[in-house]
Structure formats: structure tokens, C-alpha cells
Subunit: 347 residues, 2 copies
């Protein structure tokens, strides 16, 4: 775990703050989603001071969106009784494809006006603070690692089960990166070759079975193919089934919901085995809306993990759910800002 002391470089500004007895030791965490942008202000111990959420409004284009984010940050800071002088650095999480190391959003499926947007420079210009930028899954993983389900371990693997499946890996206390900006795309590990066609173009990705969307899709297909289920009425009434519907009907004992959940759990167990044999984490953490299904899902993942894992060695990896909920992104982003500051990464 990184040492968590901040080491801000002392500028004239910060020296003045120090004279007033206040260190610039607050950190901002920003979690950009297609619908909402969540923003949090954290103290030097990464305790939350205040948080807010604004509508992304991606259709207005990057200039206005980033203006709005900067304004919301300033308002949040002021309303917390602080000034921007008290802020040391900003952490930012957003979905790819992006060149995180260059601070650039390349494109975005859900934000079509965001093409080659130098979001780090644009935010730095508006806030006058250094900004560290990373993948949304990495940022949420880092949040769980420093303050949530992974805080006692040094090696964890993290999955977010949402529309798609995002992934991140902490190896010996560091977020694992590769030769580019696209390591740990764990949702696209192939578990069923020649299986379902994923949105990425591959067949048989774990995402194409076990994400919230695909879990709902499999239930829909089963009913359309004639399966009996209490979900049938939902499909007829609403025209669609959501993952939440599946878990609600699972809790009520619906057999199809049980079968669909079992398939999801088995797919997730398989990907757990594969990441275990790759980076050997001591903990595997699932996050995202789908974990609302609760222990029924977790127990089935563990069941299939136990059933499928090798027998030549007893594995002690712990499979669990995330604990920070929707705040993981802002906590992780702020923690990354603090960590980068400490490491001298902004110099």
C-alpha cells in the first residue's frame, strides 16, 4: 500500500496558506460517466469532505462539459468552507478508449462529441491544479484497494459488472499497466470460444455472458425461445427484462432466473480462475450494479470456482463484493491524485 503522506511542492501560494496554518492537502476526485459526473472533495486522510453529482450533458460537447465540471468543483470546494488554494491535486476517471498517459480521450461510445479531447489539459487550465487521469475501472479499483474491499491486501483483481465488464489489477500495491493504455480489459477474456458475439467483435468474452446487460439478454432469449418463467410477464408488460428483474425473480424462486444466474456465476468463476493463474491475487473483488443481487450471486460464483479450480493445490484467494458502492470512483480518483502527488508524478 502506498505511503499516504502528501508531499505538495511548496509554491508561494502554498507557503501563504501555510502561514495561515492551512496546508493545501485536499484532493478532488472526479468520476465521469456518460450520464452523470460525480465529484468528491477529500481531506489528506482521504476522508470525504463533500460530494456532488452533475448531469454530464455530453451532447453539449467537451468545452461546455468541462466548463461545467470545473464550475462544480469550485462550488463544491467553496461550499465545504475551503478555497481552491486548499486543493493539492485532482484525480479523474473516465471510460476509454483513451490515451491516459497523454491525458486524451480518443472517443466514447456514449459521448459521440468527445473525440481526441485533451481533457487533462482542459481541466488543468480551468482549475489551476495538476490532474491525474485513468480508466474508470482502474480508478474504482484503486478506491476499493485503498479504502474498501481490498484495503488489507497487496494483490487484487477487480471486476465491475455493469453494461459491460470492466477490470483492473493491483499487483504488489500498484495498478497494473501494460505496453499501452489497454491492459486489464478483463471483460474481454474469452471463456467460451466461438460463443456469443461480444460488442467488441470477439466471440465468447466473459462480458457477453456475465455483464448486467447480457445477463438480462440471456433471460429474454430464453423466454422468447419458450422457457417458462415469472419473468415472462415482465417482458410482455415492459417490452424488456433488466438484470434487476432477473435477481428479483431469483429471490422469489423463479427457476429460469436461477438458471440464468448460474450461467453468470459460472462465467465469472471461470474468469476468476484465469486471472488467478495469471497474476495470483489474494483477493478478487466484484463491483457494479449487479452485485445488488447479493449473496445468492456471490455464493454461486464461489461454488463454481470451487468446482472448476485445480486440485493440485489448495487456493486461498478470497472472492468478495466491493464495499464502497458508487463512491469508489471519486475515492479512487482522489486517492490516485494523492498517490501521484506523493510519488512526485506531477513534477
Amino acid at each position: 500500500m502506498p505511503d499516504e503522506e502528501s508531499q505538495c511542492v511548496k509554491t508561494e501560494e502554498s507557503l501563504e496558506i501555510e502561514k495561515r496554518g492551512i496546508m493545501a492537502e485536499y484532493f478532488i476526485g472526479i468520476d465521469v460517466g456518460a450520464t452523470n459526473v460525480k465529484i468528491g472533495c477529500f481531506d489528506g486522510e482521504l476522508k470525504i469532505v463533500s460530494k456532488t453529482s452533475i448531469i454530464t450533458g455530453a451532447e453539449m460537447g467537451p468545452d461546455i462539459v468541462i466548463d461545467n465540471i470545473a464550475k462544480a468543483v469550485k462550488t463544491l470546494v467553496t461550499e465545504a468552507g475551503l478555497s481552491m488554494q486548499d486543493v493539492c491535486a485532482v484525480g479523474l476517471g473516465a471510460p476509454g478508449p483513451a490515451k491516459y498517459s497523454e491525458g486524451l480521450i480518443l472517443s466514447s461510445t456514449n459521448m459521440p462529441k468527445f473525440k481526441n479531447v485533451p481533457i487533462v489539459r482542459m481541466l488543468t487550465d480551468r482549475l489551476g491544479k495538476p490532474v491525474v487521469f485513468d480508466n474508470d475501472a482502474n480508478v474504482a479499483c484503486w478506491g476499493e484497494f485503498v479504502a474498501g474491499a481490498g484495503k488489507e491486501v497487496e494483490d487484487m483483481v477487480f471486476f465491475t459488472l455493469g453494461t459491460g465488464i470492466g477490470g483492473a489489477i493491483v499487483n504488489h500495491g500498484r495498478l497494473l499497466t501494460g505496453c499501452g493504455d489497454n491492459a486489464t480489459e478483463l471483460g474481454h477474456i474469452i471463456i467460451y470460444p466461438d460463443g456469443r458475439r461480444c460488442n467488441c467483435g470477439q466471440r465468447g468474452c466473459v462480458e457477453a455472458y456475465a455483464s448486467a446487460n447480457w445477463t438480462a439478454q440471456r433471460a429474454t432469449e430464453a423466454i422468447e425461445a419458450g422457457a417458462e418463467s415469472s419473468l415472462k410477464k415482465i417482458l410482455q408488460e415492459n417490452g424488456r427484462i433488466t438484470c434487476k428483474d432477473v435477481y428479483e425473480h431469483l429471490a422469489e424462486g423463479d427457476e429460469l432466473a436461477k438458471k440464468i444466474t448460474d450461467e453468470t456465476a459460472k462465467a465469472l468463476a471461470l474468469v476468476c480462475i484465469n486471472v488467478l493463474h495469471t497474476t495470483e491475487p489474494s483477493r478478487i473483488v466484484f463491483a457494479g450494479g449487479m452485485i445488488a443481487a447479493g449473496n445468492i450471486l456471490l455464493d454461486r460464483i464461489k461454488h463454481y470456482f470451487g468446482e472448476q479450480i485445480w486440485t493440485i493445490k489448495q487456493e486461498t484467494v478470497e472472492i468478495c463484493f466491493a464495499t464502497l458502492g458508487e463512491d469508489a470512483g471519486i475515492i479512487g480518483a482522489a486517492a490516485l491524485a494523492k498517490h501521484t502527488t506523493k510519488q512526485g508524478g506531477f513534477d
Copy 2:
């Protein structure tokens, strides 16, 4: 890539050597196999000075085996016109299960008398030199990384295709390890759930399809099930088919050999995709006896990789064969000894 300058701590002994104008800057690499132990002596630039191979004789038990290794090292050094004073450190590779960090071989399928053997201490006692110990696949990978197929890159994934499939990962110039001593067991990534039963107890491991043994086994099963092939005669005459047989008949155009090779190549392509989405290497290197099959195999792996990989992003990872052959282990072990010395890992 690690800086390759040695930084031996100067003892009275080494100061004396220095007076004579000779630095203790040679490194020994030892690659322990069930049948043979390969030993190499390398200069400070990791150029090979001399090498040898002895019969392991594992049935004689660890004491005698380790005595014999120590004797062979001393003979090798002497015959190279050096003395043990010229040797800075020793690197050792051996198959697991082992506690590498504790210098302990736990057990060995092919060396049944090796149970809880403190091989590092035993070798250190006999040679009077620090010994660094790692998994045989890690050591061979490190050899290819510093001096072979991976020497221009910082991020590579390595597979050895032998009896089983071993794996190792270099991430940002470091061998990837996990929370214990069992990371990068890449042969046990599951690619076909509910598929063939692997020796490890899992079903559908890549090893159970694409190792040399299993490739031969699949050919045997196909013939026994009635497939027509020029390999049939080999099976009748020899009572068995080897992987080498498969590739020889492939080169002669046998249709079954082509089908078997295609299945091997597809399995390897799938595992390439999965490791790409995990640690994002810029190069994936295959080693081991099976690469003697040559470009026919490599081309088919690349073909299936191209066919199965996602389309949302162009991948530039290079898939290639190892270049050091059987010397990878001793080169890698010596390189690891040098690297550990430089990092102060023996202090």
C-alpha cells in the same frame, strides 16, 4: 531492461582479486530438469564462457544430486581458467511446486525424493556463493527477455510448450509475481470450459490441448477413433505418436496432422488473446521443443489470433518464437543472478 552492471560487495577476497586485476564478475546459471542439469558460466556481459550438462540422477536423493551439481560447477569454472573467486553469484531454475522466495523445493512429480529440499541453502553451503532461485519458466523467460526474443521490449508474455505448458510474464521490465509463488501458471488458463481433464484437475486448460504431450495425445485419439492418417502406421509400429511425429507428417501434408496442428494453434491463439487483455504485452514468445514445428505452427497461431481478436482496436502485439533454444534457462538464471546482485538482493 535492468541496468546490467554488476555491483558485487567488496570482500577481502574480492579486493585481492581486484589487486590481481580480475573482478569477481562471473555468474553461474543452473537449469535443473528431471533428466539433466544444465550449467553455464557467464561473464559480466552475460556472454557464455563455458557450459556443461550432467545427468540429474534424482533417484539418488537431494544430497547427492546437489553435491554433483556443486562439483560440476567447480569443474566448469576451473576448466574455463577461472576460480570460484571469480564467481559473483549463482542463478538457479527448477520446476515447482516450490517456495522460491524461501529457497525451498516442496515436491516434484518427476523427482519423488525431492520433498521440502532447501536447495538454495544447500547450494550456497557447497559453493560459498549467493544463490537466487526461481521457477524454470520464469528463468527461461528472463533469458529470452535479456538476450533473446524479448530483448527489445519491456512487456512480454512467455510460454514453454513441452510436456506441459509453462508461462511467465515480464511487465515493465520485471518478472511478474503474485501474492504467493504461483503466478503465471499460464498453462492452466481455461480455454474450453468442461473440456479435456488436465493433469492439474481442471477441465479445458490450454495445456490439455496445446502442450506437446496433449497434441500427440489428440492425434492418437483421432486415429483410434478411425481417422485416416499417415500417422496410423507410426502408432501401429511404435505403439505411440509423439508431437514430433505430428509435425513431421504435417510437413508431408497429412490432413489429420494439419487438423491437430490447427487445434493446437487455435488454443494458443485464444490464450494469447486472454493474456493480451490481462497484461498487454508488446510481444508474446513461444518456446520449448514444440516450436521445432516451425513457421507452419507460428503462422497458424497468428491466423487464429487475427480471426479471434477484437475488432474495436488494432492490436500490434508481436507473436514469435524464442531464439535461445535450450540455453535460455542457464542464460536466464545467470542473468537473474546478475540482476539480483545489482539490485542488492543478496545483501
